[in-house]
């Protein structure tokens, strides 16, 4: 493979970061490089999987983690080996368990629900937790329970367990300590309390309490308290933070108190509690317990939503919720912001932060560590924090910091007391708005509340004529009008707003919010554009703010719907370029460069000629060069350029921008880590793009560049797949030897080996699994990226393949199914943010469950897979076939037909005619199965015209299906033709036995039987009787072959059908057929099936027919009927508790028999009285048979 200059550039950029002189042994270059990056720590995921996993605690040596898992509404404790990641449930699932707590000696306490629905406090000695212990649940010991609800266990000492006991009647709780040896209990706190916590060996308890007067929830407050055991009252721990503190934990050396802080009502239930998002903090214990209000150290960002901290060594194990489910994560006890950062680095990180929550973390850390700088001075702290909380829509926190800012500015932010007052009222209104159910009309009570608040704003009289007051009133009154959907009024307020006097940036912010809310629905770009222009031109905003609004403007410009002169609705590129050029007039500042670069990028994607495009790019390159030192401008330009090039699939220039981004960023800059990630992702995307276009040299270069940068498994597989497509297998080994020697790959080479093993496999027999086993071993031995979704995908694939190869018909290995499913589900869960991994995982999951006939689940996975799209027609073809099959087996034949039909419509012309035939056949079959017979006949007809049905087997089935559909659509002559062809073709077939690939044996007689049965419904009586005769003959053969369980019943039915047909023609043969039917019924009765429907049908048909046609007495019939009636009535009577339908049948038989005895046998003493007596004996069913009884009795002379 020839290295292009591009790939050399990529490698150079990758290698240029190699720190000289660094000495490392097992660590790869990539790991070393990543460790050097200046970036905020990210919580490291410890537990993986699609279920919620929380409350994790580790032993002091960090050998294992005990945590609670919640799956299918059941909570149970699990143990995870922290070295290999293996997880096992601790006990069986007979009882829920949760809230694990480990003592220093590793004894485990927990809440257990097996013996008591209110919960027991139980414990397990350490020995029972070891891997050698067989049934740990046998060693569980529980404290004696009472009527209270028990929870929150903690270790006071190795022999004393504490817990919370709540009285369910009064709602009051107690914190109780029980001695495990003497069982003596001591109550150390009581009241409205919860979440107790104590460091083992300490004498100080922490707990949450409500100081509300009992029965009056509005009084008092909720908070965190502490006291020493024996003290009467607890001391309230006060933090200079909004919200509520909880889940306190003390460090082993008694230095710090760690806790969760719930800052806002994020779940919108009107109360701040543990149901809301959480941030972790810590404070010096000695100061906290004095009750002084203190400012703690923020450890995590609100984005990660971490709570329930547990300390282990130098780390915290916390439960976080930001990747779809709750999981246990770990990070340093000093928090996510590295403790060695200087003021300069903090300011840099603040500048490059990606979210307001991240900025809040950095601001709080800077304040706590007293690391302020020129860029982050302490005087602007409150404003900055308030600003970021407002951006995050954190209402409670915003209200808190607004109050603090009011104190600082004496009630006048930006020297505007009116604005400050109104902002407070606005936040109140916003809190009420958030509490309203989404997508519902404005309720009258909410409208009243908003109008009340508006009145308070409009009623302010101080300095009423001052422009700043008038402006502030208009802004907030307008915003309140948008809350009650009155955009007409809000538009009027908006138009009246003037900015003749300087305004605080917050005013501009809310002015913009008002304009957006007012004009969004009307899609009025001209109006909102005018507002944007004011923002760009004012002296009140920083360049950074203007660039932020500039980006919003560009996004809006790209999304507006504009009717063109030709009637099309699209924000055309020409329109966008023209609009941008008009925005440049009489304007200055960095915003100009942003708009210029946007226009250049749009011109590039409009240009098809590569040379011209390259010339235009030079203009962009110049702007990028000039803006090198302006971080905000440069980033804004990069973001817009990348988004536009990505949208236009122009990966070449997208890559240029990403390269530029990383090139102009200093390695020590906190932006570097972000730029690096973007660059790596861009390389990967470019690799896939080139692969799809079959530009394999480029693809290989980009995948190679990506894997040298990240050593990520996806890049490795992409690279190998590319070389394999180039038929360059021999090059792969050489490349990887080189990579290993240069320490670009170490542990991850196990995946490469496993992957190559599967590629190189030469199966000796169909059930050969040696290579799969070897690959599984290698993958299971991985440590570095053991939680990569790519690894789980490959593992899942191996187990799936192994299951397929060892499967025989319905028989398969359950363990392989479980392992394949487990690994593929992990791949799906961990790869949820990567569409390529997700698609592959879903495909494999669907295939897995399809193979083991779990069709409902297969259909569900395929349904999730479909919207992700397909690489090419072949992939869609394979998917459609299996998906349709799963739908059919899941009793959804109509959906199966719809899938095939849609595929043939969209792709039919692109597929080979030989592939078209199976799809047409399936389409016809699924239409038939869903009773859409018209469509079925059309599909069969089209299939016939292709003449691609080959082999007598398929021909016979095709004729049968076609004939049946034609019959159903009353095209009888054609139906007859095809059904006869089905019989003729089937006569040439022989039986095919069951095998590994055939779960039911094929018996051609079934086709003939079905065809004869259908022919018995077509044509003159003679033909129908002929068909029935043939069918009976075949049923005799079927009976010998034991093809059906109910052959006799089928034969009876055929006899009765024939008898009915012949009776109409008054053919005496009909009577013979009836007698034959009754003889068969005798056989059924002899086989203990007197109650079967066939017997009932035979008797009633015979009697009814004879009565109808007034036949003469037939001795054979009489004897048969007498015998059958006696035996069946006896059988009905023996039913201990007769089922209603059997009782009804019995009654019918009885009255019919009376009629027969009277009318046909002329037995004396039999008449209406007997019928009336039977009706009297069965009052429950008399009404149902009354019409029949009446009709019969009318016939009596």
């Amino acid at each position: 493979m020839t290295m292009t200059s591009l790939s050399r550039r990529l490698i150079f950029i990758g290698l240029s970061f190699l720190a000289s002189g660094a000495a490392w042994s097992a660590e790869t270059i990539v790991q070393h490089r990543l460790a050097e990056l200046t970036s905020i720590h990210r919580p490291q995921k410890v537990t993986v999987g699609p279920d919620d996993q929380f409350q994790g605690v580790t032993d002091p040596e960090r050998n294992f983690l005990i945590f609670t898992r919640k799956a299918d509404m059941v909570t149970y404790l699990c143990k995870q080996d922290l070295k290999n990641g293996k997880v096992t449930p601790l006990f069986g699932l007979q009882g829920d368990s949760q809230e694990p707590q480990l003592s220093p000696q590793r004894n485990l306490a927990f809440t257990y629900y097996k013996f008591n629905a209110r919960g027991d406090i139980c414990y397990l000695p350490y020995e029972a937790l070891s891997d050698k212990s067989e049934k740990p649940e046998d060693k569980i010991k529980c404290l004696k329970s009472d009527q209270s609800e028990r929870s929150s266990p903690f270790w006071k000492s190795e022999s004393e367990l504490g817990f919370l006991s709540r009285n369910l009647e009064t709602g009051q709780s107690q914190i109780i300590i029980e001695n495990l040896n003497s069982h003596q209990q001591a109550t150390i706190a009581q009241g409205m309390i919860w979440s107790p916590s104590m460091r083992t060996g300490s004498d100080r308890i922490f707990y949450n309490a409500s100081t509300a007067v009992q029965g009056d929830e509005q009084s008092g407050g909720r908070g965190l308290f502490t006291k020493k055991i024996g003290e009467k009252e607890g001391v309230a721990i006060q933090f200079d933070l909004p919200g509520l503190s909880g889940f306190p934990v003390v460090s082993a050396d008694d230095t710090y108190l760690y806790f969760s802080q719930f800052l806002n009502d994020t779940n919108g239930d009107g109360i701040i509690d543990a149901g809301d998002n959480s941030v972790l903090f810590r404070a010096e214990l000695a100061t906290a317990i004095k009750g002084q209000r203190l400012f703690p150290e923020q450890l995590t960002s609100a984005e990660y939503n971490c709570s329930i901290p547990r300390l282990s060594g130098a780390d915290i194990f916390a439960t976080c919720a930001f990747e779809g489910t709750l999981d246990v994560y770990s990070f340093p006890q000093s928090g996510l912001v590295p403790s060695q950062w200087t003021a300069h680095v903090l300011a840099n990180a603040h500048q490059t932060a990606r979210t307001p929550a991240e900025r809040i973390l950095l601001l709080n850390v800077a304040k706590f560590r007293n690391l302020t700088s020129k860029q982050l001075d302490s005087s602007s702290f409150q404003e900055r924090v308030l600003s970021n909380h407002l951006f995050s829509d954190d209402i409670a926190a915003s209200q808190f910091y607004l109050e603090k800012l009011k104190l600082e500015t004496k009630g006048a932010i930006g020297a505007n007391p009116a604005f400050t007052e109104f902002l407070k009222l606005f936040l109140e209104a916003k809190a009420k708005k958030k509490a309203q159910p989404a997508e519902q009309d404005v309720s009258p009570s909410f409208r009243r509340e908003i109008l009340d608040l508006e009145k308070q704003i409009s009623g302010r009289t101080a300095n009423a004529k001052d422009e700043t007051v008038v402006r502030a009133k208009a802004i907030f009154r307008g915003l309140l009008k948008t809350f009650i959907d009155d955009t007409r009024s809000s538009a009027e307020f908006l138009k009246a707003i003037e900015f003749k006097k300087p305004a605080h940036p917050l005013e501009w912010h809310y002015y913009f919010e008002l304009a957006q809310s007012t004009y969004a629905r009307a899609n009025d770009f001209e109006a909102i554009s005018a507002v944007y222009q004011k923002l760009f031109d004012t002296a009140d905003l920083t360049a950074e703010s203007k660039l932020y609004y500039g980006l919003k403007y560009l996004t809006t410009l790209g999304e507006i719907k504009k009717t063109e002169s030709n009637g099309s609705l699209a924000p055309t590129i020409d329109y966008r370029i023209q609009t941008l050029q008009s925005m440049l007039i009489n304007r200055s500042g960095p915003i100009i460069s942003l708009f210029q670069s946007e226009a250049i990028v749009l011109r590039m994607i409009r240009e098809n000629d590569e040379n011209k495009k390259s010339e235009i790019y030079k203009e962009l390159d110049q702007i990028l060069s000039k803006s090198r030192s302006d971080y905000f401008l440069r980033k804004a330009i990069y973001v817009r350029a990348i988004l536009i090039f990505a949208e236009a699939n122009d990966f070449k220039y997208l890559d240029f921008i990403a390269t530029n981004w990383i090139r102009y960023t200093e390695k020590s800059d906190t932006e570097f880590a972000q730029a690096r990630t973007i660059f790596a992702q861009t390389s990967l995307d470019r690799g896939y793009d080139a692969f799809a276009q079959n530009k394999l040299d480029f693809a290989g270069n980009f995948f190679y560049g990506s894997l040298t940068l990240n050593d990520d498994l996806e890049s490795h597989e992409g690279y190998i797949n590319t070389l394999m497509k180039k038929s360059a297998r021999d090059v792969i080994d050489e490349r990887y030897t080189n990579l290993r020697n240069r320490k670009y790959i170490d542990d991850n080479f196990k995946l490469v080996e496993a992957f190559l093993g599967l590629i190189d496999e030469k199966q000796t027999t169909p059930d050969d699994t040696k290579t799969l086993d070897a690959s599984i071993l290698k993958l299971e031995a991985m440590t570095q990226d053991k939680d990569s979704p790519v690894r789980y995908l490959l593992l899942g694939y191996c187990f799936l393949e192994k299951l397929i190869r060892t499967q025989a018909g319905y028989e398969y290995n359950q363990t392989l199914l479980d392992q394949a499913h487990h690994n593929l589900m992990l791949a799906y869960d961990l790869g949820r943010d990567n569409a390529r991994i997700k698609a592959a995982a879903l495909t494999n999951l669907g295939m897995l469950h399809h193979r083991v006939s779990n069709h409902g689940l297969a259909a569900k996975f395929f349904t999730l897979r479909k919207p992700l799209g397909f690489v090419d027609t072949n992939e869609l073809l394979r998917f459609t076939w299996v998906f349709a099959k799963s739908l059919f087996f899941n009793n959804q034949p109509d959906l199966a037909a719809a899938e095939i039909s849609a595929f043939l419509t969209a792709e039919g012309k692109r597929i080979d005619i030989k592939q078209r035939a199976p799809f047409l056949e399936r389409l016809a079959f699924y239409y038939q199965a869903s009773e859409k017979y018209e469509k079925a006949t059309l599909a069969y007809g089209e299939l016939e015209s292709t003449k691609l049905i080959s082999g007598d087997l398929n021909l016979a089935k095709n004729h049968l299906g076609y004939g049946f559909s034609l019959l159903k659509t009353k095209q009888l002559q054609q139906a007859k033709t095809h059904l006869k062809l089905a019989i003729d073709t089937a006569s040439r077939l022989t039986k095919i036995e069951k095998s590994k690939d055939r779960v039911i044996e094929f018996e051609p007689i079934r086709i003939k039987l079905n065809a004869c049965g259908l022919l018995a419904q077509i044509g003159p009586v003679a033909d129908q009787v002929q068909a029935l005769t043939e069918r009976l003959h075949l049923l005799e053969t079927a009976r010998e072959l034991k093809l059906y369980d109910d052959t006799l019943a089928l034969m009876i039915l055929a006899r009765l059908q024939g008898a009915s047909l012949l009776a109409i023609q008054k053919d005496k043969l009909g009577s013979q057929w009836l007698n034959e039917g009754l003889k068969l019924a005798e056989q059924l009765v002899g086989g203990d099936q007197a109650l079967s429907h066939s017997v009932f049908k035979a008797i009633t048909t015979a009697i009814e027919q004879d009565l109808k046609y007034h036949v003469a007495k037939d001795n054979t019939r009489e004897a048969l009927l007498k015998s059958l009636i006696a035996k069946t009535i006896e059988a009905y009577s023996k039913q201990a508790k007769s089922q209603p339908f059997l009782a009804l049948q019995k009654l019918k038989l009885q009255i019919l028999w009376v009629a027969y005895q009277h009318q046909i046998l002329h037995e004396s003493g039999i008449g209406k009285a007997q019928i009336e007596e039977f009706l009297k004996q069965s009052p429950d069913h008399a009404k149902e048979v009354e019409p029949l009884a009446k009709a019969l009795m009318e016939q009596f002379s």
Partner: protein
């Protein structure tokens, strides 16, 4: 007595081990077997190529959540004292 119990136990375990596995064919399986065409070679090849070892090689995908975050631009903080020029 013990000998008899053990003997019965052994017989019982043997019966359990030798008892046949019973599979119930549902209506759809029978219907497909009896009425639907068979395309063994087509289906075999199709099923063989359907399972995937590596991520699906889409040419382009939606921007991931991680990437969206990297491209996110936070608004300038709305403070009274302005640090830089307009």
């Amino acid at each position: 007595m013990i000998f008899r119990t053990l003997t019965l136990l052994v017989i019982f375990l043997g019966v359990i081990d030798c008892s046949p596995k019973i599979y119930l064919n549902d209506r759809h399986t029978i219907m497909e077997e009896e009425s639907a065409g068979e395309w063994p070679d087509f289906e075999k090849e199709l099923l063989k190529s359907s399972t995937q070892k590596s991520p699906t090689a889409f040419q382009k995908t939606e921007i991931s959540t991680q990437k969206k975050r990297l491209f996110n631009v936070v608004g300038g903080e709305l403070i009274t004292r302005q640090e830089d020029s307009k």
